[in-house]
């Protein structure tokens, strides 16, 4: 598994970790990681990119899908542990205006 999802004990925070290249090949896995059977979405989502080596524009699209799924402008999504290369890509697209990136 290159995309893993873990729900916090209180069920309020979902952490999604992506390993390796974050590109279109991860599309299904990524979507499955947050689409839950009960249709409910935890309050906050953390996308952990510690082990992500690369990110392309379709990955940015996937982040937008996640944001849309968890409430759009009302969503609370943090993107954490991004490498300097990945952060550069996020910066060019100005995704820091939509996501809390650290």
């Amino acid at each position: 598994m290159t995309v893993t999802a873990e729900l916090s004990r209180d069920g309020k925070q979902l952490t999604i970790s992506v390993k390796g290249r974050f590109d279109f090949a991860k599309h299904l896995e990524f979507r499955k990681s947050y689409e839950r059977k009960d249709g409910k979405m935890p309050k906050s989502v953390v996308v952990d990119l510690k082990d992500a080596t690369y990110l392309d524009s379709s990955a940015l699209g996937m982040l937008l899908l996640l944001r849309d799924h968890s409430g759009g402008d009302r969503s609370d999504i943090r993107v954490v542990n991004s490498s300097s290369d990945v952060r550069k890509i996020l910066a060019i697209s100005n995704f820091d205006k939509l996501f809390d990136i650290s």
């Binding site: 402008d73 100005n94 939509l98």
Partner: protein, 567 residues
């Protein structure tokens, strides 16, 4: 696969008794049987009846089994027709010959019906597998052919759309991989009515046709609004709203938009999600990065979209260079990216500005990168306004309903001035007057000059002398945005009057503002064709319009346009 479909099986055997025995066994297993008494007979029968499988005796008169097998395999082509040799030979060399001649298996005499049935079954499995592989291969080839054809057609259509703009203008140079569009890259350029040039380099998410579908609506908005005289902010807002409306959530378009004004010698830039572009000042050699400050088009709602642009001064000969991420993301064999630093090295090594694009292309090749299909680069240079001739607009109406004697007044107040650009509407109204169409460029330039003077120097009270140098230029546009955001009151009034005169007519334009006015006498003292960055507006109005005058301490400007009888 258990219940074997009946096959047609050719039995080639010169010994009549053996032939009958074998036919009997095979028939009892449910297959149809064809027989041949020697190799040549077998080849003939195969040619005429195309059996599924052949049981072939090795030693036969006229033509032996080996030669017959070779010929049958040749006739069968890509289709697998299994040949099982019937043989009493037992030396391994002879058995190997059977397989070399194209046989797929052999069966030793005397015949064991159970083994024969098993072998027929196994060969049938192979035969079907081969048929399936061939069928799928052909299907894929056909789909691929369709896809290429669809791309060819779509590309032909889109090339027409893209080239309906002014990409062939003498100040534009560009390089694009042939199918860049199908990797989402889009390059458009067009003149607005004042002769300013709008350029868009965009990059849609994704690959293939899905990445190309957004290009049409985007191009439509770009050309339509540029031709009508809308500025970058309005065009951007419309593009963003349209893409947001029609694209799925995970699709968007990174884009850089430029407005090159040859008269004002400046470039207005909006970059959302594209790599840094560069503004190259030829005199100093400096390359100023044009950095992405916005989210891509199609992400934000119309309410939250940010249309703020930056304006930079340019001198004649200065160039703006834009590129898509395919350039810096080109990988070498070890997955190393070409990167911004290598691009900079090409800039530094460049001696002939005109060969820059080719040098970058060469550097990408030398880097050993796979030739990517999403490499787009464009370079636009600032020429003297007179060196470019925007194409004349084509009108399709008859001219019978042309209004010739009327006047109209408009007052645009603070809340409107913040976001609305009235110039396209005013221009469209005026171009109903056929006599004015030949000078639509001058008319639009003068209108937009008077309007922006009234707004920026009048209502917003900005000091035009700020624009004397490059850093002041940036400060000026920063202040402009701040003051416009904070604007509470003030107005710009536009009065238009059209009167017939002889067989032609006259248009009088008056523009008034609520500002403090300016020292008219001093502004008019300046030479008409100064190359300063500031104060160009007034001299432009005086050159393009007739009888330009200012009254009410500069708060009211007046200018006329005449036309003669139409041919």
């Amino acid at each position: 696969m258990q219940s074997l479909e009946p096959l047609t099986i050719l039995i080639a055997e010169d010994c009549a008794a053996d032939r009958m025995l074998l036919s009997h066994i095979v028939r009892r297993q449910g297959h149809e049987v064809l027989t041949a008494a020697h190799g040549a007979d077998a080849v003939d029968t195969f040619r005429q009846q195309r059996p599924h499988l052949v049981l072939m005796d090795a030693m036969m008169p006229v033509m032996d089994g080996f030669e017959a097998a070779r010929q049958i395999k040749l006739l069968a082509g890509e289709t697998l027709v299994p040949i099982i040799f019937l043989t009493s030979l037992s030396e391994s060399e002879a058995l190997a010959r059977c397989l070399e001649a194209g046989g797929d298996d052999f069966l030793a005499k005397p015949y064991n019906p159970v083994i024969l049935a098993a072998k027929i079954k196994a060969m049938d499995r192979l035969r079907r597998l081969q048929a399936t592989v061939l069928q799928q291969r052909d299907l894929i080839a056909r789909h691929h052919e369709y896809l290429l054809n669809e791309q060819r057609v779509a590309k032909a259509v889109f090339d027409k759309v893209a080239h309906s703009g002014c990409l062939s203008a003498p100040n534009i140079r560009y390089l694009q991989s042939p199918y860049a569009l199908f990797n989402g890259d889009l390059l458009l350029a067009a003149f607005n009515p004042a002769g300013d040039m709008h350029v868009l380099l965009g990059d849609f998410t994704g690959h293939g046709l899905p990445a190309a579908v957004g290009a049409m609506p985007l191009a439509e908005v770009f050309y339509g609004m540029t031709a009508k005289g809308y500025g970058l902010p309005e065009t951007l807002r419309e593009m963003n709203a349209k893409l947001k409306r029609i694209l799925p959530v995970d699709m968007f378009c990174c884009a850089t938009l430029l407005c090159l004004s040859f008269q004002r010698r400046s470039v207005e830039v909006w970059n959302g999600g594209m790599p840094d572009g560069y503004l190259h000042a030829i005199a100093t050699g400096e390359r100023k990065p044009l950095t992405s400050r916005h989210l891509p088009l199609g992400v934000l709602s119309p309410q939250t979209f940010d249309d703020r642009t930056e304006v930079f001064p340019m001198a004649v000969g200065d160039r703006v260079f834009l590129l898509s991420d395919g350039v810096i993301d080109t990988c070498d064999g070890d997955e190393q990216l070409f990167g911004v630093e290598r691009l900079r090295q090409v800039f530094v090594a460049n001696r002939q500005p005109d060969t820059l694009l080719e040098e970058i292309e060469q550097a990408l090749r030398d880097f050993g990168g796979d030739a990517r299909d999403d490499v787009s680069m464009v370079e636009v240079s600032l020429l003297e306004a007179a060196q470019l001739s925007p194409p004349a607009l084509v009108y399709s109406d008859s001219g019978q309903s042309c209004p010739l004697d009327w006047s109209a007044s408009f007052e645009f107040r603070a809340a409107t001035l913040k976001r609305f650009n009235p110039l396209p509407y005013l221009l469209q109204l005026l171009l109903e007057v056929h006599g004015l169409r030949a000078q639509s460029g001058a008319l639009y330039s003068v209108l937009s000059e008077l309007y922006s003077n009234a707004l920026e120097h009048g209502v917003l009270g900005l000091d035009s002398s700020l624009k004397r140098d490059a850093s002041g230029f940036a400060r000026y546009y920063l202040q402009r945005n701040e003051r416009l955001d904070a604007l509470q009151d003030g107005y710009v009034r536009v009065h238009l009057q059209v009167t017939p005169e002889g067989k032609g007519g006259c248009l009088t334009v008056r523009v008034e503002d609520s500002g403090k006015g300016f020292d008219v006498a001093r502004a008019l003292e300046r030479p008409l064709d100064g190359v300063r960055l500031s104060g160009r507006g007034v001299s432009l109005v005086r050159q393009l319009g007739r009888n330009a005058s200012w009254s009410d301490e500069g708060r009211s400007a007046r200018v006329e346009f005449f036309w003669e009888a139409l041919a």
